[in-house]
Symmetry: C2
Subunit: 437 residues, 2 copies
C-alpha cells in the first residue's frame, strides 16, 4: 500500500485512532513515515507523535526542521505532552523550537513545566484547566467556560479560585445543571478538594490518586495558587512504567527494555547482573576451595551445596519482595520497624523449621550418616533464617540511603545469600564431620 | 478518643475522606467499628465500606443484619461497587440482602452484574451512566440529563444511543456548551467511540484504556446496545493488583499478601515454592551423587557447582520476565515466534560467549588445570544458552495452555535450571577429565 496512493491512504488514516497509527509508524522507515505524516491533519499528526515510542519519536523529530516541529506538532498539543516531547530534545534544539511557537503564553507554560524536577507532580501536570472565581454567578461561569473550553480537550472538573488565584474548591457540572442561573459560585461549590503541591514525588501522586479514586488532581504552588492539574492517564502511564521497572529489576534486568528492542540493547540490559552473579559465584568458588580437604574426603558434602545456596536465594527474594512492595505503597506507617522485625522472625522461624525438618527426614530416610544429616538440616535452618532477615533489612537500608529498594531484589540478594549460605554450610559440615566421624 | 465522645468524634469524622476513615477502621475491633459506623452519615458509611480491605469488610458485614446492609450500604452505592460487595457474601446472604433493597431496578442491575464472569469487562463496569437519544435537541437533553444526573456521581461523558439503545457515539459537554439550544444531538455528536463487549477480558480492557488514554469506556452487549461503562479508577485498581501479583509470583509468593497480613498467611504464601525448591534441590543432590567418584577424586569440580547453578537460574529469570511482560502487554502481534526465537538465540549467544570467556580467563589466571578450565567455560556456555531458550519458551507454552505465564518466572524456572545446569556441568566434567587427565 506504500506505493504513494495518497487519496486512498489518507482515507484509511482518517478513520484510524492516533494510537493505532502510531503502531504502524513504528514499522516504517523515516522516509515512509515522513510521507505518511504529511497526509495526516495537524491535530492527528500531533496525537500520533505523542503515542510513538521515545526512540522512534526522537529519530523522526531529528529529520524535521524546528519550525515544522513547533507549528505542526508542539503548538497543537496540551502543555504537558508538549513539555514531555521538548524535554527529549537537546538544549539548543529546545530553544529553537520554542522560538518558533506562535502562542507566546503556551511557550511560557512549557518553559514553566520544563523547570520542574523529573518524577514530581509538576512534571506530570498540564497547565490547561477550567477555573472560575468564587464571586461569579452561573451565567458568568458559563460564558467564561465557553471561552476556556476551546483550549481544553476534556472537562472533568471546574476549579474555583479566589481573586488571588488560590484554589478554594471544585464546582461539579451536576451542581451547575441543577442550580438556577443567578446562583453564586460561592454558595454551591464543594470546598473539599484534594490537591498536591508541585514538588510532591510522582509516587506519592500515584498513591493519592489511587487511594481517593481521583480522575484529576489539581496542583498548587507553595502559597496555594492553582497552577495545573494531573489527569489519571498520565498517572496510569507512570504506574505501568514503575511496575515494569520493579518487575525487571527483580528479574535482574537493569534497563527498561521491551521484547521489540534490539539484540544489543537486550544484551546490555541483562549482562550487568550476570557479571555480578559471575563475580559472586567465583568468590563462592574460593570459599568452597578453602574446604577442599573435606570435600575430597567426604564428597557427599558437595551433593547438597546447590540446594543450600538455592534455598537462601529463594527465601531472600521472597522477603525482599514483600518489603519492596510495602515501601512502594507507602505502607510503613502503622507497623514500627520493631514489630516488622518480630513478624519476619516468626515467619522465618516457621519456614526454617519446616524446611530443616524435611531435609532431616529426607537424609534420615535415604540412610545418610548422622554428620551429613545434621549438617544439611542445621545449615538449612540457619540459611533460611539469615536470608529472611537479610532480605527484610536490605530494602529498608537502601530506602533510607535514598536508593531504589527494588535493586535489593533479584540477582543481588540471590548472589549474596548464595555465598553466605555456602560459607555457613561448609563451616557446619567441617564441625559436624569432626564431631561424628 | 474511643471513650464514646460522640459529638467530638462525628465532628472529626465529618472532615475526613472515606479512604482515610477506612484506614482507621482497619485498626479497630468489630465493636469499636460498629460504634463509629453509626456516627457516619449514610453516604460516607457506604464509601468507607468500599474502601475497606476485603477481609475487614467481610468480618464487619458478618456482624450486621442483612436489612441494615441493604438499606444503609448497598442502596447507596454505585451498581459496580454494590455488586463487588455482594459477590463477597455467600449465596443465601446475597439473596437476603437483595430482597431488602428498596430500589427494585437497582437490585436488577446488581443481579445482572453478578452474572458476568470474573475478570471480564462486565464485572468491572457500572450500570449508571448518562445517555441521550440522537433524535433529541439540546433542551430535551439538558432536561433529561438533569434527571439522570441525580443517580450518577460524576459526569464524564454523555452517550448517544438510537431508539433501540444501540450505542452511536458520545456527546461532549464542550460541544453542548458551544451549540445553540435547538441543535439536534444527531448533528453534533461524535460517532468515533471506542467500546468493548461485556465478555472481553479485563486485561484487554486495561490495555485498551491505557493505549487510547481513556477515562471511561462504554460497554456494549452482543448486538451493540449500551449496557454500562467502566471508569479508569476500577481499571487502575485491577492494574495494580495484577502488577503486584506478577511481581509476587516472580518472587515466589503464591498468594496475594501484604506486609500487614498475619504471620500464618505469610508462611502459607511463601512455603509452597520453597517446598518445590527443596524438592528440586534434593533431586539435584541425587544427580550430583551419581558423580560421587569424580568429585572425591577431583574436589575442585565441586567449587564451581553453585556458580553454574546460579547462572542458569539468573539467565532463566531474565528471559522469562521479558516474555511474561511482552505477553501481558499484548505485544506479540508483530514479531512472529520464529523471529523471537532468532533474537533470543542472538542475545543468549552474546551473553553466553561473554560469560564463558570470563570464566575461562579466570580459571586460566588462577592456574587451574585445563580439564577444569574447559569444563567450567563450556558448561557456562551451555547452561546460559539452555536457560535462555527455556525461559523464553516456557511462558509461551504456559500461555498457550491458558495458564498464567507469570508462574514460569521466579523459583520454578530457577529450580529447573539449577538441576539441568548441574547435570550438564557434571557430564562435561566427566568428559573433560577423561580427555585431559
Amino acid at each position: 500500500i506504500d506505493q504513494k496512493d495518497e487519496a486512498l491512504l489518507s482515507d484509511i488514516l482518517k478513520d484510524m485512532h492516533p494510537a493505532d497509527i502510531a503502531e504502524i509508524y513504528e514499522e516504517l522507515s523515516i522516509e515512509e513515515a515522513k510521507f505518511l505524516y504529511f497526509l495526516l491533519d495537524d491535530d492527528t499528526a500531533a496525537d500520533v507523535l505523542i503515542e510513538l515510542e521515545e526512540d522512534d519519536r526522537l529519530r523522526f523529530l531529528k529529520a524535521l526542521p524546528s519550525e515544522v516541529i513547533a507549528r505542526r506538532f508542539i503548538g497543537r498539543m496540551d502543555s504537558d505532552d508538549a513539555a514531555d516531547v521538548i524535554a527529549e530534545l537537546d538544549e539548543d534544539r529546545q530553544k529553537e523550537v520554542l522560538s518558533y511557537l506562535e502562542d507566546i503564553s503556551m511557550a511560557g507554560d512549557i518553559v514553566d513545566l520544563l523547570n520542574y524536577d523529573e518524577d514530581t507532580a509538576g512534571s506530570l501536570m498540564a497547565k490547561e484547566l477550567i477555573k472560575v472565581k468564587e464571586s461569579w454567578n452561573i451565567v458568568t461561569c458559563l460564558r467564561s467556560m465557553r471561552r476556556q473550553v476551546e483550549e481544553v480537550d476534556d472537562v472533568y472538573f471546574v476549579y474555583v479560585v479566589d481573586n488571588d488565584g488560590v484554589l478554594k474548591g471544585t464546582l461539579s457540572l451536576k451542581k451547575m445543571l441543577l442550580s438556577s442561573t443567578d446562583t453564586l459560585v460561592r454558595d454551591i461549590y464543594n470546598p473539599d478538594v484534594i490537591a498536591v503541591s508541585a514538588d510532591v514525588h510522582s509516587e506519592e501522586v500515584t498513591n493519592i490518586m489511587d487511594k481517593y479514586d481521583l480522575v484529576v488532581l489539581p496542583v498548587i504552588d507553595s502559597i496555594g495558587r492553582l497552577v495545573g492539574r494531573i489527569t489519571i492517564d498520565d498517572v496510569v502511564d507512570y504506574m505501568r512504567e514503575e511496575a515494569e521497572k520493579d518487575y525487571q529489576l527483580a528479574s535482574g534486568i537493569t534497563e527498561d527494555v521491551e521484547a521489540s528492542d534490539s539484540v544489543w540493547r537486550h544484551t546490555r540490559a541483562r549482562i550487568p547482573w550476570l557479571m555480578i552473579g559471575l563475580a559472586g559465584g567465583l568468590l563462592g568458588s574460593r570459599v568452597i576451595s578453602a574446604f577442599e580437604g573435606n570435600i575430597s574426603e567426604h564428597p557427599e558434602v558437595a551433593f547438597f551445596m546447590p540446594l543450600i545456596a538455592a534455598m537462601g536465594g529463594n527465601v531472600g527474594i521472597q522477603s525482599s519482595a514483600i518489603m519492596v512492595q510495602s515501601i512502594a505503597s507507602g505502607g510503613l506507617g502503622f507497623d514500627t520497624n520493631f514489630k516488622k522485625l518480630l513478624k519476619e522472625v516468626s515467619i522465618a522461624l516457621l519456614n526454617a523449621s519446616a524446611l530443616a525438618a524435611l531435609a532431616f527426614i529426607y537424609n534420615f530416610a535415604i540412610g545418610s550418616h548422622f554428620a551429613l544429616t545434621f549438617t544439611v538440616a542445621s545449615a538449612m535452618f540457619s540459611v533460611v533464617m539469615f536470608a529472611s532477615l537479610f532480605g527484610t533489612f536490605l530494602p529498608l537500608l537502601l530506602n533510607r540511603m535514598k536508593i531504589d529498594p527494588a535493586l535489593a531484589t533479584g540477582p543481588f540478594i540471590t548472589t549474596l545469600n548464595d555465598i553466605s549460605g555456602m560459607f555457613v554450610y561448609l563451616i557446619l559440615a567441617a564441625y559436624f564431620f569432626e564431631v561424628f566421624l
